[in-house]
Amino acid sequence: MNYLVTDNTAGALRLEEIPEIAYADFYDLLDGWLADPRYHVAHYFALPSGDRMRFYCLVLDDAEGRVLVTSHAMDYYDDTALPSLTARHPQLHPFEREIAEHYGIRFDGQPWPKPLRFSFDRYDRRSSIDNYPFYTMSGGSLHEVNVGPIHAGIIEPGAFRFICNGEQVLHLEIALGYQHRGVEAAFAATENRLRQMCLAEAVAGDSAVAHATAFAEAIEKLTGRERPAQLDRERAVALELERMAMQIADTGALSMDTGYQLGQVACEALRTMTINTTQAWCGNRFGKGLIRPHGTDHPLTAERSAMIRKNVAEIARRYDEVRRDIESSPSLLARFEQCGVVPHEEMRRIGGVGQAARASALARDIRASHPWGSYGKCLHHTPVVEETGDVMARLTVRSREVAQSAHYIDRLLEIYEQKYGKLENPCGEPDYTTSLTPSSLSFGLVEGWRGETCHVVVTDAEGRLAACRIKDPSLHNWLALALAVRGEGISDFPICNKSFNLSYCGHDL
C-alpha cells in the first residue's frame, strides 16, 4: 500500500504507519489521483528530522470522505532536483514553492518557480524583493500598474501588478509574503498549550474560530481523549456565527465598492449585530477564547442560547431583505453579473476551495465531504453551489450560506437546549495538560467561512509538538483572483477582490 487511508474523525497517525515511498511512485500516485476531480491536495509539506527530510502529503477524496496520507523522503543534504508535479497539476504550485524556499529543495521543470513568502533564493544570492521575478510583457500599447505592497487603506501588505491594455487587464500577478510572522515556528517554540491555542486564533484574525477549531481538533486527536458531543455543537454554533458575520460583512463590502450605500449600511449594522452576539457569548467579538481543547470556558447557558437564537433569527430576517434588494437592483446586477468569471475547469485545476470554488460549480465543502463533530450527525449539510463563477455567483453563495448557517445555529441550539439546557457546564473545563501521543501526525480539517482550513500537528518522540503546519484556504484561492480579473476592466478589480475576500496573513504565515 502506497498510502494510508483515514478520515476526518479518526485519531492521530503514528509516523511510522505512514508509508514512505520513492518519489517516482509518489509522483505517479499523485498524478493519477489529481487527474480525477474528486481528489485535491489539502496539504503538502516537508519536515526535517535528523538528517532526513520527509515530505508529507494529505489528499482529500471528496466522493468517499477519505483522507489519504502518503509521504516520501530524501537525505537532508541531497540536492537532486525532484520532477515537479506543478506542471501537470497547478494546484501543487504554492506547496512546491514553499518547500523549495524553506528547505532549498529544487523542483525540476516547475513552470513558474518564484518565491512564495521569502524573496531570497539560496541558489541566487542576488535575489531580493527588488528583483522579484514579476511576469512581464512588452508592447507599445501595454502598460503596467503596480498597486502595493503598502496598502492605501489599513489592511495588510500585498503587491498587485497588472499588465493592462488600456483599461483591460491582460494579466495580474499577486506577490504576497511581506509579513514574516513566523507563526508556524511560534507553535513549536512553546510547550504551553493555552499559548498555542491563542496563536491558532491569531493565524488569521477574521477566521479565529475556524483556525482555533482546526488546531483544537488536531490536538484532541493527539491526546486520544474522547470529546463530549455537546462541545461539538458549541463549536459548530461558533463556526456558523463566524460564517454569518463574515458573509454579511462581505456583502456590505461589495455594496460599498459599487457605491451602493443602502446595502453597505444595512450589512454593516447586521454584521455588528452578529459579532456582538458572539461577544455576548464569550466576551470577544471574533470568538477568541471560545475554542479550547476538550472543554470550554464559556459554556452555553439557557439564557445565552436563547439570546443567540433570537438575534440570529432577527439577523437572518433582515439580511434576507437586503439580499432581495440587491438581487432586484438592476444597477448592482449590471456590476456583478458576468464580472470576474472563474470557469469551473480552471478552479478545479488550481485546487480552489471554499465558497469561491462553490461559486464556480465546484462543490468542495468539508462539512459535507469530510464531516466532523456535529456535521454529519445532527446536521446533514448540502453545499451551496452556483454555476456561473462570477461575482454575482460568489455573492449568491454568501447570501444563501447566511440563511443556511442561521438555520443550523437554530437547530443546533434547539437540540442543545433540550439536552443540556439545565446543566451548568456540560462540556467541562478545558484541558491543557494531557500529554500528546509521541511520534504522531494528526490533522484538523475544518470548513471555515473562507473554505477548507487545515492544521497538521506532528509530535516528536517525547510527545512534544514538533511542528504545526497551517494551510489557510487563501493559499489556493489567491490564484483564482488573478484568473478572475483577466480580461476584465481594471476598475472592476476591487469588486472581484472583495468577492473573494482572501486573507493576507493566512497566506503570510
Binding site: A152, G153, E167, S491
Partner: protein, 304 residues
Amino acid sequence: MALLNTLLLLLAALCIPGLINRTRALLAGRKGIRFAQHLYDVGLLLRKGAVYSPTTSVLFRMAPSVILATSLLAMLFIPVGDLRPLVSFEGDLVAFAYLLALGRGALILAAMDTGSSFEGMGASREALYGALVEPALMLTFGTLALLSGHTSFASIFEADATGDAKLLIVLLLAAYVLTKIVFTESGRVPVDDPRTHLELTMIHEVMCLDYCGVDLAYIKMSVWLKSAALSMLAADAVAAAVCPRWWFAAPLAVLLTGLSVGIVESTQARNKLVRNTTFILTITALAALIFFTGYLLRLNIGLQ
C-alpha cells in the same frame, strides 16, 4: 443686482455639497456630518502648506489655480432667474463651455505630470468622458440659443421667460439634460464615486491624489463652483418655463442637485466603467433630440 447674482451663485456652491451629505445621511439612517463640514474641511486645507513631488513640473503647480480661476470665471456668466450676471456678452455660452474644458485640460496635464500610473488612468478616463459630455453641453446650449435667438446666458433666459407654453416642454427637458450633466461633470454616482477609496476605480479623485493642502482646497472649491454653475443653468431653464424669478431659481438649483445627487448616491450603484460611455452618450442623444424638437418648434413658430 449683479453682485446679488454672484453672491447667490456662491451661496449655492457652498450649500449643494452640504445638502448632498444631509440627504445621504438621512437615507442611510445616520445622523451624518454637520451641514457645513465640507467648509471646515476646506478651511483646514487652506491653512495648510503644500508638498510637491520632485518628479512634477510647473504644470502640476499651476493646475489648481487654473481650475479655480476658470470655474470662477465661468460661473460669473450665469444669471440667477431674472438677475443680471456680472459678466455677459454675446457668445458667452461658448466661452463658458471652453473655460470648463480649459480647467479640465489643466487638471489632466497635471495628473499626467506626476508620472503615476493611477493618475494616468484617471486622466485618460477624464479626457474620454470630458470629450463625450461636451457635445451634450453644446447641444443643450444650442437649443437654448436657438429658441431665444441669443448667445449669451443673460439674454437667453430673459427671452425664454416669455411664458410660451410650447417652450415649456423643451426647457424642462433641457433642465433634465443639464442635471444629468451635473452628475457627470461633478464626478458623482453613477459616473464616478467621490467617496471611494479604491484608486483603480476613481476618475476625478485619482487625479487629485498628489495634491494636498491649499492646492487640494482649490480643486475642491472649483468642483463646487462648477456644479453650482451647471445646476443654476438647469434651475434657470425650469424657472424660465415656470417662474422666472431669482428667489425661485436660486433655491431650486440647490434642491435640484442636492436632492437628486443625494438620492441617486444612496439608492443606486455606480456604473461599470465601460458603461459610463453609454450613459454619457445617452445624455448626448437626448440633447440632440431636444435640439431637433426645439428646431422644429421654431420652424412652426416661424410659419405662424
